[in-house]
């Protein structure tokens, strides 16, 4: 479903990604872990071209998004993205945050878009918040709205960029619950995370990144209980 071949990314003279190879299958939940500065967020952001690709190829359902001729807006509507800092639109209500994409990108009218949005709000447990503005929500609620906003585009793939890192600890659980449900429904997910518990429980596979490459990848059980690469061992000994 996602195929990454020899992906390089540089910011000026600094090479952040140094040849990433990855295959992600449909319905797979892949967690990306690693120390900060390892390039894991940059890798994720290359998957929907929020970062321009310096060289290499990234295929999303067969479309090479490194190809300049590709209609990236169309590809992005198939790839949802959830950010660390939520990035809700503060001048629009919760419901309007969710319906904007379906209305402007998919050409739905307001009623149709709300018919899509309201069940999603229920799914993330925030039906009663449809008409409030994001500023009155807690961090965890904001992130759940952000997930609903992405889901409204009916994406085939969901990308999560440290979705719980900006949350108070007691709010993390609700967001992870929503993500678990998504995984159960068979959503293809790539999750950059520091939540090792989530990676262990929900992940089908874990990628350990360091210094701009994937150092090790394996099932969660193998990575966490029996890491092979010394860098992985060192990292896990610090965080676990």
């Amino acid at each position: 479903m996602i195929s990454v071949k020899n992906l390089h990314k540089s910011f000026g003279d600094t090479e952040v990604l140094k040849g990433i190879e990855a295959e992600i299958a449909e319905k797979e939940v892949v967690c990306v872990i690693g120390p900060s500065g390892s390039g894991k967020s940059t890798f994720l952001r290359c998957l929907n071209l929020l970062e321009e690709i310096t060289s290499g190829d990234v295929y999303i359902e067969g479309d090479n998004i490194a190809d300049k001729k590709i209609n990236i807006n169309e590809v992005r509507s198939r790839v949802g993205m959830v950010f660390q800092h939520f990035n809700l639109f503060p001048h629009r209500t919760v419901l309007e945050n969710i319906t904007l994409g379906p209305i402007k990108v998919k050409g739905m009218n307001k009623q149709e878009a709300e018919k899509v949005a309201l069940p999603l709000l229920e799914k993330v447990g925030l039906s009663d918040k449809a008409h409030v503005y994001p500023e009155s929500l807690s961090g965890g609620q904001k992130q759940r709205v952000a997930i609903a906003r992405s889901l409204a585009m009916e994406p085939r793939i969901m990308l999560f960029d440290e979705p719980t890192s900006a949350l108070d600890p007691e709010l993390v659980g609700d967001v992870l619950e929503v993500m678990k449900d998504l995984a159960k429904e068979g959503m293809t997910m790539v999750v950059v995370t520091h939540e090792m518990g989530f990676a262990k429980e929900v992940g089908d596979r874990v990628l350990f990144m360091d210094e701009g490459i994937i150092m090790e990848e394996d099932t969660p059980d193998n990575i966490f209980d029996n890491p092979q690469n010394p860098r992985t061992q060192e990292f896990l000994s610090k965080v676990l």
């Binding site: 929020l50 990035n87 904007l100 585009m153």
Partner: protein
Amino acid sequence: MEFITESHYYRVMPFLLEGLVWTLLITVVGLIIGFILGAIFGFARLSHNKIIYGIATVYVEAVRGTPILAQILFIYFGLSDLTGINIDKISASIIAIAINAGAYIAEIVRGAVYSIDKGQMEAGRSVGLTRNQTMRYIIWPQAFRRMIPPLGNQFVISLKDTSLFSVIAVTELLYMGQQYYGSTFAAFEALTMVCLMYLLITVPTAVYLRRVERRLDV
């Protein structure tokens, strides 16, 4: 009552009211055009295209680096000298306000758009909106709110700047006051009333802006 109706404070008013109408007309029309110029050049200043950015920067710096008095004389006398076409004083004044305020508004627009968190553009794009759609539905509405206080400020500045057009005998507020004391020698009374007329517009504007600012703060 006669001492009131006979006083210069009273008798200058018909002049000043006529002047105020022209002052407001020049300011408002000039600022509407100035806002359009400011929006265009403000976005040009955010452009990654070096030529577009360069042109906008030259415009902004040239206007901000020269006095508006020189600008109005340049537009009214300089350009007609060069082209042989005479433009009327009111049009020249409106053009001067538009070009002058346009440069300052360009910086207001640029600053406001730039101040919106980058994540907003990313969130819009990752939903599948184009760059232009994100600008229009996400960035611009938020940036515009932040522009209201500085735009109000610019209104006050431009309103006062119109007084400089008295040098080309535009019948704006200050010029009409001068006309009155030119024939009556009642300079104190006339200029007192002129200043009060400016304050009549600028003080309520400032009060209103402070209220808007406070509301935007929370």
